[in-house]
Amino acid sequence: MSSISEPKNIDVKFEEILEKERRRRFSMMLQVALVIIAILVCFWVTGMFDGSRLAEGLPAIGVLVSEMFPPDFKRWQQWIWPMIDTIAMSVAGTALAVAISLPLAFLAARNTAPNSFVFGFARMLLNALRSIPELIMGIIFVAAVGFGMLPGVLALGLHSVGMVGKFFAEAIEHAHPAPIEAAQASGASSFQVITHGVMPQVFVQFADVTMYRWEYNFRASTVMGMVGAGGIGTELVGSLRLLDYPQVLAILIVILVAVAIVDGLSGIIRKKFQ
């Protein structure tokens, strides 16, 4: 009996599995198609399919680029201090972000938040800070405290808290619970559990996020100069206003080199923390 019915059952089972697999593949393809359609719609809305405009615009960009050559470095001595300012702004902004993020992250992590109300509030605060662009913050702070690097640092710092605090909180949530329990078991206070049970575990991730954010803030601080926060960005805007394109290109090259140096430096520091 069973020897006859079993092969049949198996065949039916195979068919079922294959059918299920076919359906899965189909729904997968459907999803991919939907994503592609969404992208095409976005192209259409933003005018990427406007052939005539592109045809006119692209050559204009070509002309602009050709006017930039050769880059003009003769004012390089005037860029040294602004560049140092920009670096200082990025370091100070990142440090400010870390200082605020550290306590905030422990309130925004499920496993260390004192209660769900504080947790919800801290998360909301992080989201709010992240969703206000640093340029807008820069404009607000320039209006509040006047021109200079101070508004730049405040804007970079506060906006960064949104991302740095969130990543810190996530690292805290992924900390292994066993060392935390071990700290509690030895009679540690809640504060000591955080400083000695959680911090040693998440320190490397914290350092990693901080260095990434510094790289980002360095690039962002060149832009901050445009809203009057000083630094190399202010020089860039100045040359743009004068339509001095060779000088614009020279400054862009300087910024590019500086970004590469900062990225390399941050990579070296990150490796040290492993």
């Binding site: 071990a182 030895s186 206070s189």
Partner: protein
């Protein structure tokens, strides 16, 4: 009978009064339990996975709050306030199954971690003093790991890591040691070494130990007293020699009607 009388003459170190534990998801982990842990015993909690061994151990130092009942200790009395609980935890060394160490810290740093409870939060933001370091090294010496003091913990073998766990527990100068399946993830040779070490230390220092195990042979080999747990109930309590087939059946039979 003889053992019963003997036990009575020994003084109780910690008592569990009518404790039951129901977890927030409704799991009944411990049915009402009465228990005395005696001063000079190595007590082994024996039972299959899910019997409630970890829960009972955590009740003994307040990491799990009992749903009903309370724990009292000879030195402190009933453990009710959070201050009493912290004092009790400072005096209780705990060894865990695994992972309680922080891998990227050195062995010495891990041992020192158990000392922080004795200092103020502010003080522990700075490195502990030389006497504490010497004491931690002394504890590492006792478990035979002095050579590894400055190595990262994650570079050590499983057995060595668990010995660091023991060093960490005794660094607290505990008046009692709790160990939750301390050898569950170790090979037989390391298991015997760690359990032997725990037993020797407790005997030398004259402190009680409560160790949960699921391996019968180790329980027989290292316990003065075995408490058999099954589905949150104590189904056996006595010296290893009294642990007969009938008792084992009670401990390990999965379902009872």
């Amino acid at each position: 009978m003889l053992e019963k009388n003997l036990s009575k003459t020994m003084s109780s170190f910690i008592s569990v009064h009518d404790i039951s534990v129901v977890y927030s998801n409704g799991t009944v982990a411990l049915k009402p339990v009465e228990l005395e842990i005696y001063e000079n015993d190595v007590t082994v909690l024996l039972g299959p996975s899910g019997a409630g061994k970890s829960t009972l151990l955590r009740v003994l130092n307040g990491l799990v709050k009992p749903t009903e009942g309370y724990v009292s200790s000879k030195n402190i009395g009933a453990l009710t306030s959070s201050k009493q609980l912290r004092t009790h935890r400072k005096n209780t060394g705990m060894v865990f199954q695994q992972h309680q160490l922080i891998g990227r810290l050195t062995t010495l740093q891990n041992v020192l971690l158990s000392r922080i409870g004795s200092y103020s939060s502010l003080r522990t933001l700075f490195p502990l003093g030389k006497n504490e370091r010497q004491w931690a090294l002394n504890c590492l010496e006792r478990v035979g790991l002095i050579e590894k003091a400055l190595e990262r913990c994650d570079a050590l073998s499983g057995g060595q890591q668990q010995r660091v766990g023991v060093a960490r527990a005794i660094a607290q100068r505990p008046t009692m040691i709790l160990a939750d399946e301390p050898v569950a993830s170790l090979d037989p040779a390391s298991s015997e070494r760690v359990l032997g070490m725990l037993r020797d230390i407790c005997k030398q220092d004259g402190i009680p130990a409560v160790i949960s195990l699921h391996q019968l042979e180790y329980a027989r080999q290292f316990a003065d007293r075995i408490i058999g747990l099954s589905q949150g109930e104590i189904v056996f309590d006595g010296p290893p020699l009294d642990l007969n087939d009938k008792a084992l059946e009670e401990i390990y039979s999965a379902k009872k009607l």
